[in-house]
Amino acid sequence: MDRHVFRPRIAVGGVPIHAMLVPFPIVCFTGALLTDLAYAASAEVQWTNFSQWLLLFGTLFAGLAALFGLIDLFSVPSERRPAIGLWHMGLNLVLFVVAFINNLVHARDGWTSVVPTGLTLSIITVLLLIVSGHLGHRLAYRHVVRDRTDDPARTPEEDRP
């Protein structure tokens, strides 16, 4: 068996649930950075309110995505578990903690709900997203997609869920 074989355990129609959920935190946290910037530039209260909802839903969906990601990652035997998956997990754990703290910072009243700590945490969250998202994609393309095309022992039927 190829040491690269890594297939997500929980999938619908061949698409991992984890992969379906990750766009939510990506969009929410990126959106929160944009609304934070808008608040910092305008001091219009509604922008920090937007940030707070985006952060809340981003954090909730990040937790949900993490749950399925962890199941996928730890349901394969450890010798076949790609190191890149563990890096992806570790970074996202940090991201989750930062985002959680950012929710509490944004719950403050007025200007300091965003400037400077909230905005800084939003920037860090998005930077972490870029790195961990990159690792996640490498995991998916190198270890899942390639395995499916390169493994001569497998028939097309086996690739169906």
């Binding site: 001091a43 309110n49 719950a107 009243d109 007025g110 200007w111 400077p116 700590t117 945490l121």
Partner: protein
């Protein structure tokens, strides 16, 4: 990168703070020059939400405590969130039994959580909010210190709170207006009223109690209007006409700003025999257990007291943006700190009557009690001695025993105060659903 290090440097102590700020030092912040610690910003602000259990949980007849020589009686029990009391010259009481207007929209995740937490700390809040906003007449016909007649004078009013009476006219401060009703003491029915003036009410209506009083000659009416937020988190445009005391001509309804920058002014009362208006003010939250002290102050016409840009004079609040150094420079320092988060909502000055000399000329303050503090503060009727017409020394607990000592269970929460013509002090206890009567027995004590 500099940003990152700066952030980590701030985040670490913040986390530590949130974790270990359980014990708050006892407040020593009374009087003219309170010690003001440095402001803090929290991940979780200090909180201690009272849990009202009523007075009968520990056996019928439980009551607040009084100094030696005084007697306390339940003048009326089983009311629905009595907030304020007005004593009439014939000894009758008018009670405003009210709940907040509940029109604050949940614009952020935090407001859902806060709404839920705060609803637990007001005994009758939900019942009253359901529409029972009444004025009730309480009469003690046999003078035994317990009301034996209860008449509903008016109901379904828009969150009535402020009460004043003079020359055959009853004034009621609703949350969005002041109304006048022809009323002679003794009447057991209230005819139709008429609008005196509008006040800022909804939308939002965060601080909804409108305290009112009349000038000594009855020619002017004063109305306190609290802010629409803790610290302008609903935007400055939501604060038009708020955080100030209005001076109203009761004849025409014309009004002008009398004093501004008062975050939530209540207990508007003239010092007896003078033209000096006093108020108690609820200051801002979420800066720490021991910031910012609530205060009692004489209100200087035209003065600005800092909110939102600064507190206690020129202590700048960084949560307000843009900052206004020009306004901070104008901010007046209030007279007398009552210590932090006690939530004072009423003043009754004593001049004459039956209480001993120790209390003459002093102020009784109804302290509804804290939430933004790990250790409960307030939950009492405090007495502030006055010397030469100025508050002096430290406050004494006059009516205590509202806290049970068991966790955050409280029997009740005092709000409005009034001295009756019989010399007794009447206390509205909203969470305890009771009006208390405190009288001097003439035996022992002071």
């Amino acid at each position: 990168m500099k940003r990152l290090t700066a952030l980590l440097a701030t985040a670490a102590p913040l986390l530590a703070l949130a974790a270990c700020s359980r014990s708050a030092e006892p407040p020593t912040q009374f009087g003219f020059n309170p010690k003001l610690p440095a402001p803090k910003q929290f991940l979780l602000p200090p909180m201690g939400i009272a849990n009202p259990v009523g007075w009968d949980r520990t056996g019928a007849g439980a009551a607040p405590t009084v100094p030696p020589g005084f007697m306390v009686q339940a003048f009326a029990k089983g009311l629905n969130s009595p907030r304020n009391v007005l004593a009439l010259p014939n000894g009758d009481l008018i009670v405003a039994s009210s709940g907040g207007p509940n029109m604050e929209p949940n614009l952020r995740p935090k407001s859902f959580i806060f709404q839920w937490l705060m609803n637990t700390s007001h005994g009758g809040e939900r019942g009253a909010a359901a529409g029972e906003n009444t004025l009730i007449l309480l009469r003690d016909t046999n003078h035994d210190g317990v009301a034996d007649q209860t008449v509903v004078l008016a109901k379904d009013l828009p969150s009535p709170f402020g009460l004043a009476w003079a020359n055959g006219t009853l004034y009621v401060g609703m949350t969005d207006s002041v109304w006048r009703y022809p009323y002679a003491p003794g009447q057991t029915a209230l005819g139709p009223g008429s609008l005196v003036t509008d006040l800022p009410g909804g939308p939002i209506d965060h601080h909804w109690t409108k305290s009112i009083t009349l000038s000594p000659d009855g020619s002017k009416l004063y109305a306190g209007v609290g802010s629409n937020s803790n610290i302008v988190e609903n935007g400055l445009e939501a604060e038009h006409g708020r955080a100030m005391i209005w001076e109203v001509d009761p004849a025409t309804g014309a009004k002008r700003e009398f004093a501004t920058g008062l975050r939530n002014p209540n207990g508007l009362t003239f010092y007896p025999g003078t033209q000096t208006l006093y108020a108690v003010v609820n200051e801002r939250d979420e800066l720490g257990n021991n910031l910012v002290p609530d205060y009692l102050t004489s209100v200087r016409p035209g003065a600005f007291y800092g909110w939102p840009w600064s507190w206690y004079g020129r202590n700048v609040d960084v949560r307000v943006h843009p900052q206004r150094p020009d306004m901070v420079a104008k901010a007046v320092i209030p007279d007398y700190s009552l210590s932090t988060h006690v939530a004072p909502l009423s003043i009754a000055f004593l001049k004459g009557g039956t209480f001993p000399a120790h209390y003459q000329g002093g102020a009784f303050i109804g302290e509804h009690g804290s939430w933004d503090r790990n250790v409960l503060n307030g939950y009492q009727v405090a007495f502030v001695p006055f010397v030469n017409g100025r508050p002096t020394g430290t406050p004494e607990t006059f009516l205590g025993g509202f806290t049970t000592g068991k966790g955050r269970d409280v029997h009740g929460r005092p709000v409005g105060l009034a001295f009756g013509p019989d010399g007794a002090l009447y206390v509205a206890d909203d969470a305890g659903n009771t009006v208390w009567r405190v009288s001097w027995t003439g035996k022992g004590g002071t």
